[in-house]
């Protein structure tokens, strides 16, 4: 029988591995977009396979820990946060996959200018959010965690702004080209990136609760 600390550690590792997967997938996407390399996008997509079974594993382990060890205080906060985080991870991962799906066919058809100017910074900001979250998981220092959280918050705000700009810009382009539907779909795809950042912020919130305490508060 493992001790509680070991069990908690296992779960923490599993969670940060998933966060890292999503982070790396989004990095690959950024690279792929830059190089307009569809294969890279496919690789990224594949790396996110089986996400829900992985998170289910974590969830079940958490329930087991709750049943067998009755954790308290920081252990409890951690475990409860991760239980919520898995939901966000599933969504972030599915957003990442939708993003890829939305883009892969349209890459070569799109005007690179828009992509370079807006989509890339948007995706970079999203990556920044994910990176912040990933660092938060590993940190044990209250001040550092708070700082990282602020970083995630700022980056997430940036994704919001960028998405709005992008939207305006793409609609501007839309008047010029024929197929409006295509743009809408690309926009939808780009929106996923912004949503990933949303999820990251939510995870950051939960980690803040886990590591510093207070109340859990979900951001819609």
């Amino acid at each position: 029988m493992k001790t509680l600390t070991e069990e908690l550690n296992d779960i923490n590792v599993a969670m940060s591995k998933i966060i890292n997967d999503i982070l790396q997938a989004n990095r690959t996407i950024a690279n792929g977009l830059e190089k307009c390399d569809t294969d890279m996008l496919e690789t990224a997509k594949k790396s996110l396979n089986n996400m829900s079974s992985k998170t289910s594993d974590i969830d079940n382990k958490i329930i087991k820990i709750l049943a067998l060890y009755s954790p308290e205080a920081r252990d409890l906060r951690l475990i409860v946060s991760i239980f919520k985080i898995t939901n966000e991870l599933v969504r972030a991962s599915s957003n990442t996959r939708s993003f890829i799906k939305g883009f892969s066919s349209y890459c070569d058809e799109l005007d690179m200018q828009t992509i370079k100017e807006y989509a890339m910074p948007l995706q970079k900001a999203t990556i920044e959010c994910l990176q912040g979250v990933f660092d938060m998981v590993r940190s044990d220092c209250v001040d550092e965690i708070q700082e990282l959280f602020n970083g995630v918050l700022i980056a997430e705000n940036k994704t919001d702004d960028l998405y709005e700009l992008l939207q305006e810009n793409i609609f501007k382009h839309a008047k010029e080209i024929e197929d409006f539907t295509k743009f809408t779909k690309i926009l939808n795809a780009l929106r996923k990136s912004e949503k990933i950042a949303d999820r990251a912020l939510e995870i950051a919130n939960l980690l803040l609760f886990a590591k510093i305490g207070g109340h859990i508060g979900s951001v819609e």
Partner: protein, 261 residues
């Protein structure tokens, strides 16, 4: 919120002990709330609890320092109970602050006499009044139904859980302001424990409860406020939920999560 008891820089030293066992404790006990004291064995929980009704004075040579303020029923005027000197004052104090022990302590008399004993001591002589108050107290302790047909039997014949409820009823009959519980369920089986816990939860409508417990689950279940003690200090005191979910001190957190030592 009204205060019931408040200690101010309260220190306590047992006779023949060099160091103080309690070192400058400041803890508020709010009226009509359950306050729990938790902490590792030997940290001074019982010592603090037993200071509140000066039961320590049964043995000579203890050293009190600081103040323990006992508020009146309105939570306004307060007296420092450490200044009581006369036996009479102590007797009055103990009728205002009752106490329940780890092992049930039924007196070797009938069930009825157990309940009325304290009342008689407090000067009530009228038989019907005695009986009435005994009945009320027993009902309050959810014991009336079980014993009403054998009020004149010896209290020793009751089960452990019943005996403990009898002791609570006996204390409650005096209408004390505060009841002190020193690990009241650690000698009982789980079912009796549950009934005592329920009783304590109900009692706070009428009085203030201060309870020492080794069982953290119990502290978390029944108390509104919790104090964590360690080596004679009050390390942390807060709303129970905060102590168990968001303790501020690392020592508390380590104790609560079982990482102690």
């Amino acid at each position: 919120m009204k205060l019931a008891i408040q200690t101010k820089d309260f220190s306590f030293t047992y006779p023949k002990t060099k160091e103080a066992t309690l070192k400058g404790i400041n803890i508020p006990i709010y009226a009509n709330k359950v306050t729990a004291l938790i902490g590792p064995s030997g940290c001074g929980k019982s010592t603090l609890l037993r200071s509140c009704n000066r039961i320590h004075d049964v043995y000579p040579g203890n050293l009190y320092d600081g103040e323990i303020l006992l508020y009146d029923n309105n939570g306004e005027k307060a007296e420092n109970i450490l200044q009581y000197k006369k036996e009479n004052d102590l007797i009055n104090l103990r009728q205002r602050i009752g106490m329940i022990f780890q092992k049930p302590t039924p007196f070797p008399m009938s069930i009825k006499d157990n309940i009325t004993y304290g009342l008689k001591l407090s000067g009530i002589k009228n038989k019907t009044e005695l009986l009435d108050r005994a009945e009320i107290a027993l009902k309050g302790a959810a014991l009336w139904e079980e014993v009403k047909d054998r009020l004149n039997n010896s209290a020793m014949g009751l089960s452990g859980g019943q005996q403990q409820r009898l002791c609570i009823a006996r204390a409650v009959a005096l209408k004390p302001q505060v009841l002190l519980f020193d690990e009241p369920t650690s000698a009982l089986d789980p079912i009796s424990t549950a009934s005592i816990e329920e009783l304590i939860s109900e009692l706070k409508n009428e009085l203030t409860v201060l309870i020492v417990t080794h069982n953290m689950q119990q502290a978390s279940r029944i108390s509104d406020y919790t104090g964590f003690m360690y080596l004679g200090d009050l390390v942390e005191y807060d709303v129970t939920e905060t102590i168990f979910l968001n303790p501020k001190e690392k020592k508390t957190e380590d104790y609560i999560t079982g990482r102690f030592g």
